[in-house]
């Protein structure tokens, strides 16, 4: 069988001792940079790229750099769960339930759920990549901007579920997030929007400063404001390992999220961003006790983390099958290939089988290394929560400032974080939640860009969204989701009205 032959070829590469070591180095570095907000995988890979020029075995270089990328997806959940500081857009979703779990003394369980879910999803995602990269990539290419607009619209509608409180407030937060996302130079007309003459705003607000502000900083201000919430988090660490009940509740979400993430990871134009949000919304919708979401539901950690890791693996599909980078990290890996003297393009899989299959095989090894690396670390991380809050608060603020400054050594990002942190606190006081805001911020630009691009390509004909079958089907689902979301509210209101008439 061809697949087995290929995998065998890959493992002979990946199991060479030096390649295992480079893989370990990559995933360990990835975990470390994932933990720090601001220093993402893109910056780290760019920094380490020159080191790989001297490698004798070019497969080692790609194995290590790829390890940094998917390793960072593991590390990103750690600070989100422990400190409510998400460093990447996917871990913002993890924070919604992961941090409440930590506050209930279940940080270990949350971290373990994230690591185990990630491991399973990473392995399955890699298998999908190995088995179906070609056909998947071909299918993904039929997704144009009209289809991507429909996917994002569906994601946004479904994500009203992200809020555990009022749906109206959630909608308001999504809109505010979309507005924040419009700051910066418009892609289509090159006109700067909402920049007020500030040069630094031309490229828009950075995700890290917004996320750290509305999650981390706002949370700290809230705790300082209300001493009752200022309990030591780890005062009652129960168990580090998920109980039988926890494990039972994780299985379904991990399986579904892995499937969803694998599909979204392949899509062009930012599909992988949707994975974690989509998984969260799905699990909340399917759960028998949706009221627990946002208050420490293990499904809300296991699902998004799995989706996110599956997507991280399958986002290699366009790169390896077509030579097309799906996002900046993939573009960097492409550049690494070029510098190693490999002509990127759809022929890479054929012309460089050792390299491509070596990389794929190394992902199985890397995911196993990550789980071995991360599970013992949980004990260490949880100890961190023993630190009294009076020390923890300023430490988190310093950590957040360092992280945002590290984005590109510009103090402006720290300023943005400070201002939005106060703004986020005001919103939290008003009973609004940060997750939908962040979702709008991340997905808003995607929604706008794909909408406008689809209309440009159709020469202004809006029927393109309903005449293209995939787009029409997805938009139909979005309308259905909206109706389902709004109906109970209408029915309740009618019940209230009738009750008052009685």
């Amino acid at each position: 069988m061809e697949l087995l032959d290929n995998l065998a070829l890959g493992f002979t590469q990946a199991l060479a001792l030096h390649n295992i070591l480079f893989c370990l180095l990559g995933v360990a570095l990835g975990t470390a940079v994932g933990v720090l907000p601001g220093i993402g995988p893109t910056a780290s890979i760019a920094l380490l790229l020159p080191l790989t020029f001297g490698f004798d075995d070019r497969t080692s270089a790609i194995i290590m750099l790829a390890g940094i990328y998917y390793g960072a997806q593991y590390g990103g959940s750690t600070t989100a769960i422990l400190l409510n500081i998400p460093g990447e857009s996917s871990s913002a979703v993890t924070a919604i339930d992961g941090h409440p779990m930590a506050r209930q003394g279940r940080a270990g369980v949350a971290l373990a759920a994230a690591a185990l879910g990630s491991f399973f999803a990473g392995v399955v995602g890699t298998f999908v990549l190995a088995a179906a990269a070609g056909p998947l990539a071909a299918a993904a290419l039929t997704f144009g901007s009209a289809e991507m607009f429909a996917v994002v619209a569906l994601g946004l509608v479904a994500s009203i579920a992200l809020a555990s409180g009022s749906a109206v407030k959630a909608l308001a937060m999504i809109v505010l997030g979309i507005l924040l996302g419009t700051i910066g130079q418009d892609l289509y007309t090159a006109v700067p929007r909402f920049t007020f003459g500030v040069r630094e705003l031309w490229d828009g607000l950075s995700f890290v400063s917004v996320a750290v502000a509305v999650f981390g900083i706002a949370e700290i201000l809230k705790n300082l404001h209300d001493p009752r919430t200022r309990v030591r988090v780890a005062s009652k660490v129960e168990n580090l390992w998920p109980t039988r009940e926890d494990r039972r509740r994780m299985v379904g979400p991990v399986l579904r999220a892995t499937g969803l993430g694998s599909v979204l990871g392949v899509l062009p134009g930012g599909g992988h961003v949707l994975a974690a949000y989509g998984a969260y919304a799905t699990e909340k919708r399917l759960s028998k006790h949706p009221e627990q979401f946002g208050r420490g539901a293990i499904e809300g950690v296991a699902g998004p983390e799995s989706a996110n890791n599956a997507a991280a693996q399958t986002s290699f599909v366009p790169l390896l099958a077509l030579g097309l980078p799906a996002h900046p990290v993939m573009a960097l890996l492409l550049s690494a290939l070029i510098i190693q003297g490999i002509q990127p393009g759809p022929g890479v899989m054929r012309s460089q089988p050792e390299l491509v299959w070596g990389l794929i095989a190394s992902m199985f090894i890397g995911n196993a290394l990550l789980v071995v690396l991360n599970l013992p670390l949980i004990r260490v991380w949880v100890k961190l929560l023993d630190v009294p809050y009076s020390v923890m608060f300023p430490a988190i603020i310093a950590f957040a400032c360092t992280g945002t400054y590290a984005i590109d050594q510009n103090p402006f990002h720290v300023l943005v974080m400070a201002v939005l942190g106060v703004g986020g606190f005001v919103l939290v006081r008003c009973g609004c939640e940060p997750a939908p805001l962040l979702l709008g911020f991340v997905l808003g630009p995607l929604l706008e860009n794909h909408l406008r691009r689809a209309l440009l390509i159709s020469h202004g004909d809006p029927t393109v969204f309903v005449t293209r079958p995939i787009s029409a089907a997805l938009l139909g689902l979005a309308v259905l989701a909206l109706v389902v979301a709004v109906l109970p509210a209408i029915r309740r209101r009618r019940d209230v009205v009738f009750a008052e008439e009685d």
């Binding site: 893109t42 890979i45 760019a46 790229l49 020159p50 020029f53 993904a140 290419l141 039929t142 997704f143 144009g144 901007s145 130079q185 892609l187 289509y188 090159a190 040069r199 031309w202 490229d203 062009p268 134009g269 366009p318 077509l322 030579g323 097309l324 980078p325 799906a326 900046p328 993939m330 573009a331 960097l332 890996l333 492409l334 550049s335 070029i338 510098i339 003297g341 490999i342 002509q343 990127p344 393009g345 759809p346 022929g347 009294p388 009076s390 020390v391 608060f393 300023p394 430490a395 603020i397 310093a398 950590f399 400032c401 400054y405 050594q409 860009n449 691009r453 440009l456 390509i457 020469h459």
Partner: protein, 334 residues
Amino acid sequence: MNPVGPRKVVATSAALAGLSLVLAACSSGAGNDPASYPDDDIEVVVPFAAGGPTDTVTRMIAEPMAEELGVQLVVQNVEGAGGTVGAGQVAAEDPDGYTVLMHHIGMSTAPALYGEQLAYDPVEDFETVGLVTEVPMTVIARSDFEPDTFEDFVTYVQEHESEVTMATAGEGAASDLCGRLLTTALGVEVTVVPYDGTGPAMEDLVGRQVDFMCDQTTNTTGQITEGTVKAYAVTTPERIESLPDLPTTAEAGQPDVAVSVWHGLYVPAGTPPEVVEKLTAALQVALEDQSVIDQMAELGTTPVDAERATPEAHTELLTEQIATWGDVIGTQGG
């Protein structure tokens, strides 16, 4: 448990803030004696995304240049606003040779595109180190686009002006400039579809969502040789080695569509001449390095000859290009 007073909190946070400042300070700071230059790492600012074509070219020459200079060349990507953010940052740096800018043809188009809003003058605020390479451009289309040759393409676009869509990697990008030049030469106005970078633009072209694009061989060669896109012509005066079957635009009757994405090195104005000299010398060594020649050949380009990799020759090219693009962009109203 002892209560922790606010003073202690302040002290702790001050200590942490101080630590982060020290860490930040460690990454900058360099000696500035021109005679002993270089005795510290040199930062090379690339004003575009890591992994893009300009970034790739920079990393290719950084290695042999570092060897020649005996210090590390650290590539720093400062993206934004068509490369003007990174360029503006370098213009404001100390003229000591420890911050170098790698920029492409966008260096010459920024004045016409941004006018008053441009925070620097590409000629007055920089010293040129030298030209690095001129990357040829290719006119490519989705694999099922009707025309088969460049001549057919020209006729088709002129006849179906209102239906045709052209992808670009955003305003000021190489593909945008080449597209402007091409459409101006053909006297047509097509629908321009900007993307956020060359990656997504190529993805939609391979996916047959848009009609055509004009982009650097660094991005297009692999797709052309695999037949996932249709190639019409290359924009250089002569055919290129990596794609020998591809005719030039001049052969196909459009000599006006001649453009290549040249890349050059710059330092802030006021950098001592002996420092610039050392950088130019290192650049020239790098351009003759066999591995650089090989890597560039993979991408369908070649290092420039030594006589063009000098401050004088490059200043001349830059000034001439600013005038040329001023005309092209001026006629289309930026």
